[in-house]
Amino acid sequence: MKNIRLGLLIAMVAGFTACEDTIDLQVPNGTTYPVLDAWITTEAGPQTIRLTQSVTSYTNSTPAPVLSDATITLEDLTDAKTYNFAFSNGAYSYDPGGDQSIGKVGHVYKLTVQYKGETFEATDTIKRVPSIDSITYEFKKSDESASGKEGYYAYMNAKDLEGGNDYYWIRSYRNDRQHRNTDIYAINGAFNDDVADGWVFIQPIKEGITDYDKPYQKGEKVIARIASLSHPSYYFIQQVIDQLNSGGLFAKVLENVKPNMVNVTTNGKVKMLGWFGASAVSFKEKVIE
């Protein structure tokens, strides 16, 4: 989704007559693959990594089966440190203790996963991230909002870091970190390389922390996070978000997101889906009063 407003306009045109229905679709079950969900951040405290089996039907809502028999090691190639992740409670984790954090800006990380006798590797670099200055919000009545939904619309006030192209993944949560709300990607203060360097994030990004179909309500807490991305990780996140927002008149065709874990085993056969990424993160939260 290059631009939220454009999407709104398209929705408006189609909106006079269009409708969306949930349908019962018969699709034969797919083949299952191991899926690595590894995102290391600069946040203090424990870091967790999940390894699951893909669910062989999209509409099957049962949680993905957890794979517990892998060995996962993270190396900080810049500092030559190794962290062994241990499995417990459905995930692999490492706790550096106290207010220590594993992730450091500018460091290169390599993740190694050994699973069923085969070894997979990927690397990523932690880029710099700007802080979030504040979160503000305003109340809109149903007839004042483009989506027709009454509630509080929140804005994230932050500024891109000057110099070079910076890639970001912005995520908002409702009330707590267990409730993901919206996701949006950005380059510099806007959406393209080489423009908007050092800008305050432009309107669509600033407004992107509110789900227009479900604005915040009084008493709810808005949590915003900016995560820095390396260029390959940006490409992956962009693809995922585009796929998840697909729909409408100009729907993107379903394309599989490509993994970055490389099977380095000689004659290795297993394909591992998912992605290993690393980010510096900054958070801000605000309760709607």
Binding site: A18, T22, Y58, R180, A196, L249
Partner: protein
Amino acid sequence: MRKHLILLLSLGCFLLQGLTLHAQQRFTVSGYVKDQQNGESLIGISVSKAGTSLGTVTNEYGFFSLTLPAGDHELQFSYIGYATIKQTIHLTRNQQLNIKLEKSSSQLSEVVVSGKQEKAVNTLNTSINRLDIAQMKKMPTFLGEVDVLRSIQTLPGVTTVGEGANGFNVRGGATDENLILLDEAPLYNSTHMLGFFSVFNPDAVKSLNLIKGGFPAEYGGRTSSVLDIRMKDGDNQRLGLTGGIGNIFSRLAVEGPIKKDESSFIVAARRSYVDVLFKPFLKGDMADTKLYFYDVTAKGNFKLNKNNTLFVSGYLGRDVFGFGNDVNMNWGNTTGTIRWNHVFNNRLFLNMTTFYSKYDYSLKFSNEDDKQPNEPDQSSQWTSNIINYGLKPSFTYYLNTSNSFHFGVQAIYYTFKPGKGTGSQENANSEVVLNDQHALESAVYLDHEFKPSKKFGVQYGLRFSAYQYLGKGTAYYYNDTTWGTRRRLIGSREYGNNELIKGYYYLEPRISAKYSITDNHAVKVAYARTTQFMHQLSNTASPTPLDIWIPSTNNIEPQVADQYTLGYFYDAPSGLLELSAELFYKKMAHQVDYIDNANLQLNQYIEADLLPSKGRAYGVELMAKKEVGATTGWVSYTLSRTERKTPGISGEEWFLNRYDRTHNLNVVVSHDFSKRSSLSANFVYASGTPGTFADSRLEYQDWDIPYNSTDKRNNYRLPAFHRLDLSFTRKGKPHKRWQGEWVFSLYNVYARRNAYTIYFQQNDDDPSKKEAKRLSIIGSILPGITYNFKF
């Protein structure tokens, strides 16, 4: 190459034969055929020697030329909906004859007989469908409005990916493979409002020809079809107004003589007003919503003297969307055409066309309206355009009743500004500008129409197309990589003004032949090679107005298609019913495909994301048509398949195109109850288009990512599409000058929710539920009312 040489040689032989055979005293009668009432030139009128098969049809400017032995001849001029005129000429020298045909008043009776020559059973070409505006007006309308593109979708071989989709597909070709000509200027975006309405104002359209195969040599530059739309000349008898008031937009056209009988003009305009109607209901963020389109079509024709006529026509259309100062977007086509018809002598006709065509879009964003006091001013803009200038002198030489030649040269110069993005915050500016691109497309062609006997006729020709990708510009060179992944830039080179970066040259043979089994049955075969140098980049379900066109480059080879057609045509002896069956097979090379997650917007290295694919399409098209009587209409059915094979995609196996429809049935019926009331119905049934469905789900960072573990593209089909439309027209009592009519229409009568796309998402209220969702662009019955008038 040898094949081509043989063709050229035989062409030469035919020429000589044609020139030397008939030494007997012969003379030529030539002239124009026009409408009695308004002076419009009439296209495709049968001109024949009564009682024989000798004859011709008028060309796009109403001109005909017929060479006959000296002596008396009774000539017959006929066309459906017009009273036949018979005129005896005494041919002792070359002579001019201008004819005016009168509209038949007895439309309702079954005695109206149309001309023979223009019937499919008698013409040489296959795969051509012609519609004139009177036929389009009879069909059920969408929201009360006559629509050119919707009407061609009822013809065999024409499909779309869905309702409201931008563009159409002909015989398994992509939407960018249609050459859409409005008074000979190419158009790059044929719809308004993202696909709901076509850009052609019906008040200014005279007729259209859709050529799907067996292309005459004069057409080139697109591989799948030519949609040749001709504007009205304007009434040269009296000043008049026509127009309509509908629930989406209103139209007004004024036309009249500049000099009676000789020169006339027409100016037609439309504007939609959904935004105006909704304005009182919009508040807050929506208060300053802009959502409308307009277009202006104008044409003038000037008869300079009996041998020279000048036509000037132009089109300007714009779609405008926006919210206050926050978002402002607009896009549209601008075209201009100047044509000069010159009759050198009775047998040699020249049409010289020069044209200009531009498609551009602009998006502007600003934070002016919602800015907090401490925030900086921000604005950004994104623009893109394609401009072309063309010159096309085309000659027709009518040697005798058995031989005529079409020849000419063509040149189109293109400039592309693929994208410019600028942004500013306070006084700091930054911009991304993609390099301009330039290209020259040129061609020389010769076509020979040869009818040695009543039974047999052939039109064969050769087109030589040259394409040059020119400086000033930068050529990029990429590495060879695993197919399906982004290629890496390994070098670039700057080229100066008009320096050749890369050239491509093609010989395109064309042939269509007809054999009449009897007067009423004919079999036709055709072969055509076509090439295409311009490509629209789009990897969404249907192209968006922001999808750019790019030229062939050193990295993108031109598309080449070879099409074979076999057809059978039947015309009932009564002239009431026409039947046709056509088989086609089309092989396509270098169609453009994309790597997964290709970046098609504001990307200087866009070529690194493109893949060349092979295509094939085949099918059978059946059509039955009844054009006279109280009940008229047609039934068309197409059984077809269209596939492609792209390295790095879908396991490098053939996969169905997004626009493949196995079955496609259209029934168009119109019944006149009286002179004033008529009812029409349209029913469509089409197999669902293919889609790529998720068969599994990945849990990742609290997302549920749909995944297709087969890695095969378009591996499933959407449910079948079907829809019924009705419309009722009631004409007002005829007054001396004022004529009015009400059109009531119902679109999607039984409110079917046809699937446009199916996608996979979490439930909005309960994210733990994962769902497949169907989007229907038109999910209910849509009524429409329009009042049309003529003054």
